[in-house]
Symmetry: C2
Subunit: 221 residues, 2 copies
């Protein structure tokens, strides 16, 4: 069972819908349990007969799951993780999709903030504590594209210092039609992958699209 | 005529060979004019009948050209630009392909240094002065792949604050078979594109290849 924390937002609900459609059991987490249940009901409707989606407040969602996907705006990430810390089960895989866009402090979404730990994902790892292992993934997937039902023409670069966390994130990425999971090395490389998402926002603006993404080439795969 | 400063290195000579092959006139620049002439002779041999390639010391090369492509290790970029500054013709387009890899100070090639101006390209713009306009481009093209004669399965993201410089860099990128030039917005975005090259080095290492690259998807082009 996968908790999608911040699952009422566009990125979280897009991921949840894609995973629900292929039979993953999902709990949508939100500050507001009512909103989470409404989002879960909506996803259940659209995701087809395999869908098993519930809603709960974030803390309850995290307590119920061994895999937690974090899809909240960067402005709220640290505070939320402090609240969630006591709720993580030992051995939880925390997959962080946060991007420290400057929009978090009123700046531009095409720029990133410097994060003391190096990246939003490394900040997440520091705050979430010893019960979790962290992978950074899913930053580059357009919420607009995820919401649809076409294959997603984008790779997911997975950064982690823990092979099991990388494996879990990679398997989840590959469950989204069209997506390939690419081993992006250590968690510290999340600082590059996060910044690449700000560049995708520039590309969306410059090219007047909503679904710019990346494919890695030359890997012989 | 295009000056490729640092053109005896793998990236510069790879670019020079690709351009020479499609009929661009190239001057290979190097600290050592003899080495530059030797590299030019080698490229002339391999690039076929259209090739027009000469060699000169960097200062002479820059004096002769309105387009200068800078492909030197980051450790030498600033010092070299200070030397070249008086030689730039008014209106020169300077295309910077530098990547501030931590290898420049004995660190890892999978990490980047923080550059005070934000990126190697912005540092170049600050140092090179008012006679030049700067575009950042070509970072992501593998020297190993450029050296060959197959189409290059990689896009070139071009960042510039000057539309003419962007245009010149984009036209040169598109002259390399397989390559698409992608408008990557302002020069400040070079900090992301440069860091992406460090991630390509991680991908090369992790996946045991030499030619990892990127394609941008979802642009409708």
């Amino acid at each position: 069972m996968i908790a999608v924390v911040g699952g009422t937002g566009p990125e979280g609900s897009g991921l949840a819908q894609r995973w629900a459609r292929v039979g993953e059991s999902i709990i949508i987490g939100s500050r507001d349990a009512e909103r989470a249940r409404a989002a879960a009901a909506h996803i259940t409707e659209t995701a087809g007969p395999l869908a098993s989606v519930e809603g709960a407040d974030n803390l309850t969602a995290v307590k119920m799951c061994d895999i937690v996907v974090l899809t909240v705006p960067f402005a709220g990430q640290a505070e939320l993780l402090k609240q969630l810390k006591p709720a993580f089960r030992p051995g939880t895989v925390l997959i962080d999709a946060s991007v420290p866009l400057a929009a978090a402090v009123g700046g531009r979404p095409t720029r990133v903030l410097g994060v003391w730990q190096g990246s939003a994902a490394e900040q997440a790892a520091e705050i979430a504590g010893k019960n979790v292992t962290v992978a950074a993934a899913f930053h580059s997937l357009s919420a607009t594209v995820l919401k649809g039902d076409q294959p997603v023409d984008c790779d997911v670069i997975v950064c982690s210092d823990d092979e099991r966390a990388r494996q879990v994130a990679s398997v989840l990425a590959a469950k989204i039609p069209g997506v390939r999971a690419i081993d992006g090395g250590k968690l510290e490389n999340a600082r590059i992958v996060e910044a690449m998402t700000a560049l995708l926002i520039t590309l969306n603006i410059r090219h007047k699209v909503q679904g710019a993404g990346w494919r890695v080439t030359g890997l012989g795969i």
